[in-house]
């Protein structure tokens, strides 16, 4: 049997304070949710700071953070754990969700909708008043550690109808709706993250605004804060503004010639 050794969580502690620029009152609200151990759902487009926010909150609360990037091939066992075969027979190995629930950590399921629906139901008993996790295969019922909290994220933008979360899953979470920060905050983030000059940061944000307005007109997603950070980093290293923008802001997001032309024009207009 596995020893109840919570030192396993040490590796999940967030060491240094991550830089996080609050957009509204989300920090206080998250703290409130944590006080009552309410499950949290963070929604928003890609690269807008969801993961950074959760990481920051874990640091602030002094909690270990177990992150799982979900994908289509993931099964319930990848979350919960499984029996492994070895020469001497079989051995149970806890999955990340079990580790977090057993020893008390924040478990962050990133892009939960990527996982299949039969996978997501295993979180149900953990997310209501029961706060339990049955390990059917092992014949064990885990009562979640008092510090345990479940956080999931998803991007409502690009999923198809097929991939949407079930109502019965959605309705177990409190929600945070994220969007790209407003121009001033976003420029501030770029300055903080990369050391780029404020005027350049503002120009980058103007280019991003162009792309975000084209969403749905040939663009699936606008330019994310993440990509702006990349562009700023390149420029901070001496890459010419236009080249950096083309490389970090245009190439990754579209192959549509008209959209490209428009974004490149926006870059020329912003960086005069």
């Amino acid at each position: 049997m596995t020893a109840p050794d919570s030192s396993i969580l040490n590796q999940y502690l967030v060491g240094k304070e991550p830089f996080y620029q609050p957009q509204h009152d989300e920090v206080a609200l998250f703290e409130a949710a944590y006080r009552r151990r309410l499950p949290v759902m963070v929604k928003g487009p890609t690269g807008c700071g969801k993961s950074r926010f959760v990481e920051f909150m874990a640091w602030r609360l002094g909690m270990p953070l177990v992150t799982v990037a979900c994908n289509e091939d993931m099964t319930a066992a990848d979350l919960v754990g499984r029996w492994l075969l070895d020469k001497d027979g079989t051995r149970w190995q806890d999955g990340p969700l079990t580790v977090a629930a057993r020893y008390g950590a924040i478990c962050y399921l990133d892009e939960i909708v990527e996982a299949r629906q039969d996978t997501t139901v295993v979180i149900h008993p953990l997310t209501d008043h029961r706060r339990t996790l049955p390990l059917d295969k092992k014949g064990e019922l885990i009562r979640a550690h008092p510090d345990f909290q479940l956080v999931i994220s998803y991007n409502p933008g690009y999923q198809s109808l097929m991939k949407d979360l079930k109502q019965s899953t959605k309705q177990r979470f409190t929600g945070f709706e994220f969007d790209y920060p407003n121009a001033e905050l976003e420029a501030g983030i770029l300055v903080q993250e990369t050391g780029v000059a404020p005027s350049i940061a503002a120009q980058l944000v103007a280019v991003a605004a162009t792309a975000r307005r084209l969403k749905g007109h040939g663009l699936d997603e606008g330019i994310s804060t993440r990509l702006l950070v990349y562009a700023a980093m390149l420029m901070d290293d001496g890459v010419a503004p236009r080249a950096a923008c083309r490389m970090a802001l245009v190439q990754p997001i579209t192959d549509d010639a008209d959209i490209r032309a428009t974004l490149e024009h926006a870059i020329d207009m912003a960086f005069a």
Binding site: E72, D73, T75, A77, R82, W83, L84, L85, D86, K87, R116, M162, A206, T210, A211, R213, L214, H217, G218, D258, I259, A261, T262, L263, H265, A266, D268, M269, A270, F271, A272
Partner: protein, 759 residues
């Protein structure tokens, strides 16, 4: 180009040239010395000698004095512009014309040669031009009655007359295409040929439009739409206006309730691409919409209004540049830079000129003008804008002050200095003014946007579609007029009876359809639990286990079914031939139309079972002016009595202009959101129409339509009932067709085919 020094021995050589010329026309004798002087200054000695020889030839042609005079006067310019050696080409052309019934046009040819050569710029280009003329002559001369070439080309004199104008806006290639179009379409109609070549007929203008050089608005429309949205958070209908036939002043852009009006075509200019020019026009209009407040105009003089417009336009531009600094370079490249002393205030009204300079200076920190009043107003303008509260009335006050300060008596003169004062990216400011007296208030700036036209209304206006002309490998713009409407209706019960008759078939189909329903099966591998063992993975795990490492327990796989996502349009050929009875056995004297009805009913029923969105429409045509497109079932309409009623009323008549109907069906299908889009075309004959003699034309057009649809992600498939279809159907549909020989079996074949296609 080459400027030869004046020849001191000219008088003595003149006599020799006269002898060489050997021409007795009196006028020729009189102008000759002047012409030789000009020629000697522009052409080399060899050139002058060849020039005189050529004039001599013209003199002996027996075409009178006119061509000789024209040549003597025009050639020195042409020869100098295009260089030696071109004379030979031109004289060959003259000789050629002389041999045909077109000799009388030699004068016309020589007459426009000089302006033509100014636009051509090179020998090769001239060669292309001459070849175009020669080709045109060969094809249009004397073939009216199919005899020998006895009648001159009807269009040639017109073509020669129009050539300089045409080459203003066409490349030589474009000219050739335009000429070719006219020749092919009006070969046998002398009068219409003349209309075409004199730019009188509508299609002549339309083709000219298409062949113009520059960037067509139509080609950059999406880019501009994205520009408006992306950079300015705006969107608007973009409406082109024609620039090809504007003679006096070029029309200005403007906007009103119906949209933003832009030139249909723009050329690249030094430092600004045509696309950026369009963007600048849009940006300026957006600026007005955002920041201008309409002013009441009644109390102001035209001068005052003009000044207000210049100041307000500059304010708008300044705000635009503040938003996007990169815009300054584009605006300055488009904004004229009037020279400070260019207008003489003693003789001319200079207010426009002064304002254009001021406008330049307001945008261009490096304007370099010295006038102190200008500097003063530039300073005041920038101080007003720096404050952040400057609006249209502020500009109006500044403008009125400017007019008073700089007033001159001569501002009232009729002669106005226009050069370098027109700013092509600015609109005509009609929205800036409100005239109380004439009651134009409703034309206010923020006039309400037009509602999109109500599609429910009866009698929709015709839609125009191009048709592919395979001979020239180009589209005939707006060639076909298509009218759409709802098909007439009859008793739905008829269709239910037909279905009943095919109950056994329906049962059979149902089995096939059930197989089809769980379409799009996806295998999911690496499952701990699943429906089947995944042998590959299981083996690998077993080996891992045997060799002592941890085996992967995910040795099963399962299947997931995603939904079908197919949109289907069924396009029915409703031409006359459908009324014929079926000849091959088993038809019980039914007509093709009746069998089609049964088949379509079964197909519609089948597709309904699958839940795929299906639209059904029929078409026929009676010349290119009347293609009818009749809706039988809409995508979201259920397979119910309304649809059955229309199907029951199916009627056939007229001809089969397939391309236009396919394009129209395609535009609906393209608007659907579906992974797969399928267009089934059910027809019993080749595309044809009463106004088309060339058998290939409509076949090639349909083939082109299939290509267009393919480009739009629409898969077309033809079900042909024509036993002779093999001769052409593959040309149109490639491999995407079936010919059904036993038409009697159509009712079972059609649904089966659909099932096979979407399996």
């Amino acid at each position: 180009m080459t400027d030869h020094p004046r020849d001191p021995s000219l008088p003595s050589r003149l006599a020799a040239y006269r002898k060489q010329l050997d021409c007795r026309f009196p006028w020729v004798g009189e102008v000759f010395s002047d012409c030789i002087a000009k020629a000697s200054a522009r052409l080399g000695p060899a050139g002058v000698s060849a020039y005189v020889d050529a004039a001599r030839v013209l003199c002996k042609l027996g075409r009178g004095e006119e061509p000789v005079l024209i040549f003597l006067e025009e050639w020195p310019d042409v020869g100098a512009a295009l260089g030696d050696g071109t004379l030979e080409m031109v004289m060959q052309m003259v000789q050629f014309m002389q041999r045909t019934p077109n000799g009388n046009a030699i004068g016309g040819f020589l007459q426009t040669l000089a302006p033509v050569s100014r636009t051509l710029l090179s020998r090769e280009q001239l060669g292309h031009y001459l070849n175009t003329l020669r080709d045109m002559m060969e094809r249009t001369t004397g073939s009216i009655h199919g005899h020998h070439q006895t009648h001159p080309s009807p269009g040639l004199p017109e073509l020669l007359r129009q050539a300089p104008t045409l080459l203003q806006s066409l490349t030589v290639d474009g000219l050739r295409n335009w000429v070719d179009y006219g020749v092919r379409n009006y070969l046998h109609h002398p009068e219409r040929q003349k209309d075409f070549f004199s730019l009188q007929s509508a299609d002549s203008r339309a083709v000219l439009q298409r062949e113009r050089h520059g960037t067509l608005l139509a080609d950059v429309e999406r880019k501009l739409d994205l520009y408006l949205r992306g950079l300015w958070q705006d969107s608007e209908v973009l409406v082109p206006y024609s620039t090809a036939f504007a003679t006096l002043r070029t029309p200005q852009p403007y906007y009103d309730a119906l949209g933003m009006r832009l030139p249909d075509v723009l050329d690249d200019l030094p430092g600004v691409s045509a696309l950026d020019h369009y963007r600048a026009i849009l940006a300026h209009m957006v600026g007005h919409r955002r920041w201008s407040i309409p002013q009441t105009a009644d109390n102001w003089s035209p001068f005052q209004r003009m000044a207000v417009e210049f100041f307000e336009d500059a304010r708008i531009d300044t705000l635009l540049i503040r938003t996007y600094p990169g815009l300054r370079a584009i605006l300055l490249a488009l904004h004229p830079k009037p020279a400070e002393g260019a207008c003489d205030p003693e003789t001319t009204s200079c207010l426009r000129h002064r304002l254009a300079m001021l406008s330049r200076a307001l945008l261009d920190p490096e304007h370099g003008y010295r006038n102190p009043v200008l500097h003063d107003f530039v300073g005041r303008f920038h101080r007003e804008l720096a404050g952040g509260n400057a609006d249209t009335p502020t500009m109006a006050r500044l403008a009125l002050d400017y007019v008073t300060t700089t007033r001159r008596q001569s501002d009232q003169f009729a002669k106005v200095h226009f050069a370098d004062t027109e700013i092509s990216y600015r609109d005509d400011n009609r929205g800036l003014w409100r005239f109380i007296e004439s009651g134009d208030e409703e034309e206010a700036f923020d006039a309400e946007q037009r509602k999109s036209p109500d599609l429910e209304t009866q009698g929709l206006p015709p839609r125009h579609y191009p048709e592919w002309d395979y001979q020239s490998q180009s589209y005939r713009p707006d060639w076909v007029s298509l009218y759409e409407g709802l098909h007439a209706s009859a008793a739905a019960a008829t269709i239910d009876q037909l279905l009943l008759k095919h109950a056994a078939l329906a049962k059979h189909l149902k089995r096939l359809l059930d197989l089809l329903k769980p379409q799009d099966k996806v295998r999911i591998r690496y499952q701990e639990e699943g429906s089947e063992l995944d042998l590959d993975v299981a083996l690998r795990s077993w080996i891992d286990f045997k060799s002592g490492s941890t085996p992967d327990p995910r040795i099963n796989m399962s299947h997931r079914t995603a939904g079908r996502d197919i949109a289907v349009t069924l396009l029915l050929d409703l031409s006359e031939s459908l009324n014929e009875p079926v000849k091959t056995g088993g038809g019980d004297g039914q007509t093709v139309l009746q069998l089609s009805q049964e088949a379509v009913s079964l197909l519609a029923w089948s597709i309904e079972q699958l839940g795929d969105p299906l639209a059904i429409a029929g078409f026929n045509s009676n010349t290119r002016h009347e293609v009818r497109y009749l809706h039988i079932k809409g995508f979201s309409e259920p397979w119910g009595d309304a649809v059955k009623g229309r199907l029951a009323a199916l009627q056939a008549g007229y001809s089969t202009r397939m391309g236009a109907a396919m394009r129209h069906a395609g535009h609906y299908l393209a608007a659907r959101k579906a992974d797969k889009k399928l267009m089934l075309v059910l027809t019993d004959g080749r595309p044809s129409d009463v106004d088309v003699q060339d058998d290939r034309l409509l076949i090639e057009d349909a083939r082109q339509a299939v290509k267009e649809l393919d480009r739009d992600g629409i898969f077309t498939y033809c079900i042909s009932l024509d036993p002779h279809a093999d001769a052409y159907v593959a040309d149109i549909f490639g491999r995407q067709y079936t010919v059904i020989d036993h038409i009697a079996r159509l009712p079972e074949k059609l649904p089966e085919l659909f099932i096979a296609l979407t399996r």
